[in-house]
């Protein structure tokens, strides 16, 4: 321990330094490394000073391997979806941020993969690139419910205000999946993708106006509109006979069951509008409406107005006939405001066209778009036992027109104070007699024994 030793016994050099590593003072020869002398090991903790073990022996801290893999997965998903660089960068930034948040740092790798997909999804939405959650779930091969849950948690944590999904935007991307160009199918069944998409978008807009889209899963609606659009572009017998099943097989997409119902709903709407076409003499039914679809879509705003007006008149006539008070002008049903306002010029132009093509109908001119979309508010409520307002308007959400049958509510025990007497007999009815309890115990024992054997 004396400081006067200046020569290393091992190599004889005089290059000896004091080394305070690891809480033990040592004198070490620089040339050969042998310890010349050492002090007593201290037994008090000096704290994490600059001589701590982890710091002296640490190598450069590597970034988390799973984070790197996750970022690569994000990149891969972006490349598959063929999004632009901005979206890719955004997704990677979000992923890094979310990954390191405490809510996601310790979840399973599977969930982290789902998180990668959700980051791509939210970036696409923010930068106006239409992608559905279904697509992401498909890419990740994950349960859509799990994807939804992770997505909602992620936007809450990262505090992102993502715009809502708009079906029209996704329509085009969706229609690309259908392989029905002339390269894939025989000529008479083939359809140009541009025409197909254009008509399908118009059909979707019409569906949205007439309450078919709100609250529903978007993909079956898109499938239904593409199918109907394909049928109506060449409404010959061959195409009309082809079912949705066969169509999906032909186009090499997976059929979705709800699409059948959507097709029926959309056909009903088309029929309601088809009836208003002035030059169509025969009755419009779901079977022959496809021939009229082109006209319906071209003049759809005007036809909507007409249909609503006709409906109004019918209801007024009905209520007058049954001797009730005539309805005030305001309460008359008109859903015109909902579609009319964004295309205020077109309908009038369309109306003139319609009128020019056929005999004039008595009702014409500008109806101020009335605002209430519901039917008569007065009306038959006092008469009908359970007034279904959906049946009284022309267009209503299908869940209102065909409501699910609910379990009949029992007449409730009203006027309960919470502090009434509780009768003993009632409580006793909930308790087993001793004999019952014994028998129950015996049965349980027998069952458990038989299970063991």
């Amino acid at each position: 321990m004396s400081a006067s030793v200046t020569r290393c016994p091992g190599c004889g050099s005089s290059n000896i330094v004091d080394d305070d590593l690891y809480c033990q003072a040592q004198r070490v020869c620089v040339d050969c490394g042998s310890v010349v002398s050492e002090g007593v090991l201290t037994d008090d903790w000096t704290g994490d000073t600059e001589i701590s073990y982890s710091r002296t022996t640490a190598v450069a801290r590597k970034p988390c391997l799973n984070l790197i893999k996750g970022l690569q997965r994000v990149k891969a998903i972006c490349r598959i979806l063929r999004v632009n660089n901005e979206i890719e960068n955004h997704s990677q930034a979000y992923y890094t941020q979310a990954y390191q948040h405490e809510a996601f740092i310790r979840v399973s790798l599977q969930k982290k993969e789902v998180l990668a997909g959700c980051c791509v999804l939210v970036s696409c939405r923010l930068l106006n690139w239409p992608v559905t959650m279904g697509t992401i779930s498909c890419l990740l091969d994950a349960d859509p419910v799990v994807v939804g849950a992770v997505y909602q948690e992620m936007i809450k944590i990262l505090n992102i205000k993502a715009p809502v999904f708009i079906i029209n935007d996704v329509m085009e991307a969706h229609s690309q999946e259908y392989k029905i160009s002339s390269l894939h199918v025989p000529e008479e069944l083939a359809e140009n993708s541009r025409d197909l998409t254009k008509r399908a978008v118009a059909l979707v807009e019409l569906a949205a106006d007439t309450w078919i889209v709100t609250g529903r899963h978007p993909t079956p609606i898109m499938m239904a509109s593409i199918y109907l659009s394909w049928q109506s572009l060449k409404p010959n017998k061959h195409r009309l006979k082809l079912t949705l099943d066969k169509f999906c097989q032909m186009a090499k997409v997976n059929k979705l069951k709800p699409a059948m119902k959507r097709i029926a709903e959309m056909k009903e709407v088309l029929c309601k509008l088809g009836r208003e076409i002035p030059w169509v003499r025969e009755a419009v039914t779901p079977d022959n409406v496809m021939q009229q679809v082109e006209d319906i879509l071209n003049y759809r705003f005007a036809l909507l107005r007409r249909a609503l007006r006709t409906h109004e008149e019918t209801l007024q006539a009905e209520s007058e006939a049954s001797g009730e008070d005539s309805l005030p002008e305001e309460a008359a049903s008109s859903q015109v405001a909902e579609h009319g306002e964004q295309n205020s010029n077109a309908p009038t132009a369309e109306e003139y066209e319609l009128n020019a093509e056929s005999a004039q109908r008595p009702r014409d001119g500008n109806d101020d778009p009335h605002t209430e979309p519901e039917g008569n508010t007065g009306g038959g409520e006092s008469q009908a036992p359970a007034p279904n307002w959906g049946k009284r308007v022309l267009f209503a959400p299908p869940c209102v027109v065909h409501p699910k049958r609910r379990r009949v509510e029992r007449p409730e025990c009203k006027d309960v104070t919470g502090d009434e007497d509780i009768s003993d007999s009632e409580i006793d009815s909930y308790i087993r007699t001793p004999r019952e309890a014994r028998e129950f115990a015996q049965t349980q024992k027998m069952l458990s024994e038989s299970e063991k054997t």
Partner: protein, 302 residues
């Protein structure tokens, strides 16, 4: 023993003697704070007069319910507050037929109806569909014994660590834990929830456990109503983005998180609205009165 469900009561620990779980004398202390939804009543010394008083109060209550009613309630179900406990009665000796000066169960203490004039009120009253409440029975329980000796109980420890018990009237379900805590669900009003919880506690008592009825508290209330016109959810989520979340691929309704009162509303395209997260009835009514003009006005402008 039977106290109100306001947690401010200093009498929660007071339990009636064994076997006397009938609603006995509601003893109120003058210390009870005003504005908690209770009327301080005089401490009645004489047991006979207590019974008389109770009878009179019940009569009064029935009379009041027949007469008075909050404006705008269409269904006849008066939106009562926390309890319809016999709160009536003035501080002087209650004479039969005397309309009390204040604090009847029908006078709102908290703003049940909003301060907007009656002409603007929606005229629709949300109906309560479910009440979740908790109570502490105050003693450890042997779930195996309960499951063995009660007819209406199921117990599967591998699946869930509580006994699931059901009673017929009011139609409710209770989860009874071995710590003595109990959750009661399925009632349609606060009073029913309380009555049901008391019945469960009685069953447990009859099975031989020294059950009490401590800290009864309503944890959640769910209400629903129908505005009878369709709602454009896509538009609503655009204008109220900071409160709404609408993902048709995940759920058909729009989830609206109102800040004041702190209620979550599920709004559907059919016009049906579900309100949940309330601790008191007034919050549900208030939330609906807040959302109704939004839904109505929104329906006009689109």
């Amino acid at each position: 023993m039977d106290q109100n469900n306001s947690s401010a009561s200093p009498f929660q620990g007071l339990s009636s003697p064994q076997g006397a779980m009938t609603p006995g004398m509601p003893i109120f202390s003058p210390m009870m704070p005003y504005g908690s939804g209770l009327t301080p009543q005089p401490v009645v010394a004489n047991s006979l007069s207590i019974l008389e008083e109770q009878q009179r109060q019940q009569q009064q209550q029935q009379a009041q319910q027949a007469n008075a009613g909050l404006p705008g309630t269409s269904s006849g179900l008066t939106p009562q507050l926390y309890h319809s406990q016999t709160v009536a009665g003035s501080t002087t000796t209650a004479l039969p037929g005397n309309t009390p000066l204040y604090n009847t169960p029908l006078t709102p203490m908290t703003p049940v109806t909003p301060s907007t004039p009656a002409s603007e009120s929606s005229g629709i009253v949300p109906q309560l569909q479910n009440i979740v409440s908790t109570v502490n029975l105050g003693c450890k329980l042997d779930l195996k014994t309960i499951a063995l000796r009660a007819r209406n109980a199921e117990y599967n420890p591998k699946r869930f660590a509580a006994v699931i018990m059901r009673i017929r009237e009011p139609r409710t379900t209770a989860l009874i834990f071995s710590s003595g805590k109990m959750v009661c669900t399925g009632a349609k009003s606060e009073e029913q929830s309380r009555l049901a919880a008391r019945k469960y506690a009685r069953v447990v008592q009859k099975l031989g456990f020294p059950a009490k009825f401590l800290d009864f508290k309503i944890q959640n209330m769910v209400g629903s109503c129908d505005v009878k016109f369709p709602i454009r959810l896509e538009g609503l989520v655009l204008t109220h983005q900071q409160f709404s979340s609408y993902e048709p691929e995940l759920f058909p309704g729009l989830i609206y998180r109102m800040i004041k009162p702190r209620i979550v509303l599920l709004i559907f395209v059919s016009g049906k609205v579900v309100l949940t997260g309330a601790k008191v009835r007034g919050e549900i009514y208030e939330a609906f009165e807040n959302i109704y003009p939004i839904l109505k006005g929104f329906r006009k402008t689109t």
